[in-house]
Structures are given as structure tokens and as C-alpha cells.
Amino acid sequence: MARWVRLAIILVLAAQHPALAQSSTGGFVGVVVDIMTGEPVAGALVSLIARPAGVPPPPRSAQTNTEGLFVFVGVPEGRWRVQVQKSGFFVVGANGQAPEVEIRAASVVEGVIQVDRGGAIAGRMVDAKGSPVSEVFVTAVPRIPSGDRAAGPLPSTGNAQTNDLGEFRLSGLPPGEYYLVGRPRPLPTATGAVAIPVVVVQSYYPGVADQARAAPLVVTRGVTTSAPDWRMLAIIRPSRAGDAVAASPQRAPAPQRATGPRRRVSGVVLDPDGRLAPGARVELVPVDRQTVPGAPLVTTARPDGTFLIGNVPAGTYLVDAMLASRLEASRVHRVVVENADVTGLTIAIVR
């Protein structure tokens, strides 16, 4: 009750605000309430974001006070999306979409925004060696049941960054099923004259490249769902057509090998059951005696299980392969590249 008295006072204050005298702006005041307890939610970040149509005015933001109240004055007329951010909570009744508010000139809209405690997903991201991967941006993408696609794509919910132990926690997720997607910081590994194809590295839980093969996670209210040992992947974005498997995206070519003829190394990868292993990661590691082991040339086995690494300078290499989603790897083979392509390698992954 006291809250409503207070809100009324604020309404009066807002109406007197000089910015409201301008004909093209209005106000928006309201309260953020926990739907289960009825208590106001303090410290929530409330933002007004213009819809994409037209020239977007800059977003506006306010923070709720200890009574859960917020006020916007001098807001340009039109329809705005309302976003509420508070750790552990989500906006109720919005059907996955942000609620909207219609701001009219010289008037004040009042609103009650109900929020509820969601569920959480906590986990850890590791690389092929099982080491933690930090600074990866993790988001949860709601799984849309097939046949319900008319509703359009749902926005991804929640985002977090992995810490130095590869750990992350997404909270305030509405109950439902989610895919997890991890994207590292999109920075190149070299600049200028040594520019190389940008490596896009992203991974769906539990360590696959595409959503179709990803495992959805079930989120329930007030419960933390575990996502352990999520594998990060390297996915190579080809710079030119036909160059998809010939890239050395991990590193600029070593300067001393910059000249001389280039050869191709190709073969097939088999999984521990002796079947073709599409998607397996194949590495060609230069081990010339006079240098430290160089950066590997990396590719991914094609859908038919074959692989081809192009643009290989002459030298001695170690070749190995590993499955993208599991820790199994092959024995290491030694290959000498001289004046001809190396073909017909069979790399068997063992358990």
C-alpha cells in the first residue's frame, strides 16, 4: 500500500518535470515486483530500447530504488521495448519477448513489471587437452519445438563469460529447454602483411559445431542444471572457395618456410570402431630439427571421412587426428614431405 502512495507522489513529480512540457516526449514510471513474494526488486536495471523501425533513439536506462521504483522522463514518443536485468530473475508473461510500452506526448505511463526467479545453467569449458578455456562468451538459446516455428526465433537468453577456470553460470532463465553456444572473443591472431584467415571458433554444448547435433539442457525454476566438460572447437572459415581445408588458420606461416614449393597431404580418418570419422580434427605438426616444433596445420575431416591439407612446405611432420566431441586421439604418424604430394594416409583413432 505504502508503495502505491509513493508511486502516486512520483507520478506528480514526473508530471511537473520540465522535460514533460515538451510536446513530443512523455514519461514512464513503474515498479518491479517479485511475482512469488510480492516484494519489490531493488537494484534492477530497467532499459527502454527503441524498436528497429526508423532511426533508433539511444537506449535509456534507470535503476530501481529500494522500493523497486523507477522513473523515465522526457522519453521520445513511440513504442519502446522494456528490458529488465537483475541477476537470477526474468520478466514474467512476456512469452520470451521483451514487453513493450507506448509512450505518448505529455502523458505518463505507469507499469508494474513482474519478475520471477528462473533456473540456472552452470558448467565448465575445456579444450581438446581438457584444459580450461577462459574468456568465452556463453549464451543460452531456447529450443523451439518443431511445428512451433511460426512464432519466430526466440532471442538468446542470458549471457556470461567463462572465468580463469573455464567456469560459467547463466541465471534467471525461464524454465524450458536450451542449447548452449560458446563464442570466443572474435580477434585475429595476426595483423598486417601476415594476415591470415580469421578463425571462427564456436561450440554448442557438449562440443559440436552445429545446433542440429547439440544436446538441449532442461532448465527448471530454482534449480541449477550442470553442463560439465563442454568442449571448445576450432572451426575454420575458408577465405576463398575451395580453400576450406587448405588453411593454416592457427598461425602465420613460419618465415623460414615462406618460400619453396608447396605440397598436399591427404588421407582418411577412421574412428575407434573402424568407421569413417567425419568432423575429426587432423593436425600436421612441423618438427624440423633446427626449430622448435612449429604451429600445426589443422583441418577437419570432410563428411566422407577424407581430409586434405594443402599448401604444405617441404619438411618433416607429425600427423595425428582426434574426434571433435570426445577425448580419443590417434597414434602419431611421421610424414616427410619432399617433392611430391603425400596421399593415402590412414589415421586410426584409438580409445
Binding site: A120, D164, Q256, T291
Partner: protein
């Protein structure tokens, strides 16, 4: 012992890299390229393993007013990054990775880049210690969205102690935080309300969370230090946020002749040099007045700064801040009104 062994292992590797460099330099010199290249390798000082995903940038180390900064790139799976097309000169190599800090060297190395040559640099990063804990309210419920900072007391050349901010993280929905990449030593852990750049004036609150030092102190002098050791996590640094009444500070900013300083930047801060916290950063109204809400009890400074932008005939413009003299105010038991500050004089 393990660390000693690791160093021994690194030395031969570094030797290899040295040879590598000389090879690079000799081959590159025979090519027609006129620009220089820097290849760096970032290794974990404890294990000798390469560190992937380290952000690296180069800043001109020449003594110029505006150091040139190259855009950030990151190391590959082998801990290697490469900058090409570099103008020759002195460059400072900045590297950054969550959970790591510059080890014994303590600061970014400076390299000399020679025209037409390739330079290689090896940087060792130390995996620091970490502090984890939870922040609760007076009812024992977790407080999310707070900023928690690890402050390290550092002695300045004049003998005074200042606090260096070593890491800051946000509490999650369980009130948990983890501060990593800390050099070993004693720290103070402090939790504060986040102050994002809100576009709207906040509404007054009756009470509010105030800056709280572990294990629940109002200031650093009453706080308990937290010991951090290399590569280890100091756990259970749990504490309760302090709450206090919140008051208003009202006043007016004027110029030297007593006219309203419309649009002056109003700053409300507290603390001593080295640990100054800005509570409010806003703008004076057209009539020079300002209204600051949610100020807990304490001693503060209010200051009015003026930004002057000068456009020259050639179309270029320069800007400069003119700082007003700070006015000290005491907030105790009620609102403070009638504060008069003189804005900076251009």
C-alpha cells in the same frame, strides 16, 4: 621445486627461439620487404606451456604525447601472435589473459623493431592466486550484481601506502565472486554497488547498501587482509553488506562572477588520493542547481568542472577540462542543502 624445474625447461626452449630469431632476421633481410614484423610467444611461467587466447597489443614506446596503439590480436593454440607491417621503432608489448599477470618482470617488455627484420619476443605470464567468496544481505540472502574488488596495499616512494586495484568482478545471482590473476600478497576485498551509466536520475531510497570491506568493515582501516598465494585459491571470503540511511545533497554551481554555471559537470567523491571513489557524476541544470540523491553519511568533496572546446581556423578542435575548487561537505543524520561550488575558470 616444480617452478624451478619449469624455469630450467624454459631456458633451452628460449635458446631455440633465439636461434629462430636469427634465422628469421637473416632470411627476412634478403627479402624486399621494407616493413618489420614482430612474432611473440606467450608461455606459462609455471609450466612452460604456451597460453592460447592471450590478448596482445603493441603501443609505441617512444616519448610522444599520444602513444600509438595497435589493435588487439590474440595468441593461437601455440601461444603465438604476429604483428606485421610495423613501422620501425620502440614498441611496448601489452598482453592480457584472465587469471594471469606479468611475473617477476612486472611490466610489459619493450622491443626494438628494425626495418625489414623480424623480431621475436617471449613473454612469461604467471598464473596468479585467486579469492572466492559470497556477499549476503542482513537477512542472509545473496546479493547479486555487486562489484567486488581486490585492493593490494602498495608502498609509494614517499613511504605512504596506497591501494592498487588488482581485479574487479561482479557477484552472480548466488552472491558469489571469484577474483583471479592476483600476484601473491595481502589484499583487501571490498564490495560496492555497481554504478553503470544510467541515463535517468535515480529515485531516492531510504536506505542503501554501502561500500563494505571484508569481513564487514566500513573502511579499509578496519578491514582484515586476505592472504593470496601463487596459483592457489583463498576460499570462503564471505561477508555481509552494510546498509545505511541515504540522504540528498542539493546545491548550485556558479562561475567566478556568481552567475549560474549551467551544464557544469558535478562530481561528488570521497576518499584520499589513491582510493578516491566517485559517488555521483552528473550535470548542473540550466539555473546551475544540482540534486544528488542516495548519499550515505560521510565526508565528501563536491566539485564543478567545465569542458571548453576550442576550434581553430583549420577546423581541428581541442578540448580541456577546467577543474573547480573542491568544497568539503559532511553528510550526517540528514539532507545537505545550499552547497555552493565555484566552477572551473577557463
Amino acid at each position: 621445486m616444480v617452478r624451478l624445474l619449469a624455469l630450467v625447461l624454459i631456458l633451452p626452449l628460449a635458446g631455440c627461439l633465439e636461434r629462430h630469431v636469427r634465422r628469421d632476421a637473416s632470411t627476412a633481410a634478403t627479402q624486399t620487404s621494407s616493413s618489420a614484423r614482430v612474432t611473440g610467444r606467450v608461455l606459462d611461467a609455471g609450466t612452460g606451456e604456451p597460453i592460447a587466447g592471450v590478448r596482445a597489443s603493441l603501443a609505441s614506446a617512444a616519448r610522444v604525447s599520444l602513444p600509438r596503439l595497435l589493435p588487439e590480436i590474440q595468441t593461437d593454440a601455440d601461444g603465438v601472435f604476429t604483428f606485421g607491417d610495423l613501422p620501425p621503432g620502440s614498441w611496448r608489448v601489452h598482453v592480457q589473459k584472465r587469471g594471469y599477470y606479468y611475473g617477476t618482470a612486472g611490466q610489459p617488455p619493450v622491443i626494438e623493431v628494425v626495418e625489414g627484420a623480424a623480431t621475436t619476443v617471449t613473454i612469461l605470464l604467471e598464473r596468479g592466486g585467486a579469492v572466492t567468496g559470497r556477499v549476503l544481505d542482513s537477512r542472509g540472502l545473496p546479493v547479486g550484481d555487486l562489484w567486488v574488488t581486490a585492493l593490494q596495499p602498495v608502498q609509494r616512494p614517499d613511504g605512504t601506502i596506497m591501494s592498487m586495484e588488482r581485479a574487479t568482478e561482479r557477484t552472480n545471482d548466488l552472491g558469489e565472486f571469484r577474483l583471479a590473476g592476483l600476484p601473491p600478497g595481502d589484499y583487501y576485498v571490498v564490495a560496492r554497488l555497481r554504478v553503470p551509466p544510467f541515463t535517468e536520475t535515480p529515485l531516492p531510497s531510504k536506505t542503501m547498501f554501502v561500500e563494505t570491506y571484508y569481513p564487514g568493515a566500513a573502511g579499509i582501516t578496519a578491514a582484515s587482509p586476505v592472504v593470496v598465494t601463487l596459483g592457489a585459491t583463498t576460499q570462503s571470503i564471505d561477508f555481509q553488506m552494510r546498509s545505511a540511511a541515504a540522504y540528498h545533497v542539493l546545491g548550485v554551481a556558479v562561475d567566478a562572477r556568481g552567475r549560474p554555471a549551467a551544464g557544469a559537470r558535478i562530481l561528488l567523491s570521497h576518499g584520499r588520493a589513491g582510493t578516491i571513489t566517485t559517488i555521483f557524476d552528473g550535470t548542473a541544470e540550466a539555473n546551475g542547481t544540482f540534486r544528488i540523491v542516495n548519499v550515505p553519511e560521510g565526508t565528501y568533496r563536491v566539485q564543478a568542472d567545465v569542458l571548453v572546446v576550442t576550434r581553430s581556423g583549420t577546423g581541428s578542435s581541442t578540448s580541456a577540462w577546467f577543474h573547480g575548487a573542491p568544497v568539503e561537505i559532511f553528510v550526517q543524520g540528514g539532507d545537505v542543502t545550499g552547497v555552493r561550488v565555484t566552477a572551473g575558470q577557463p
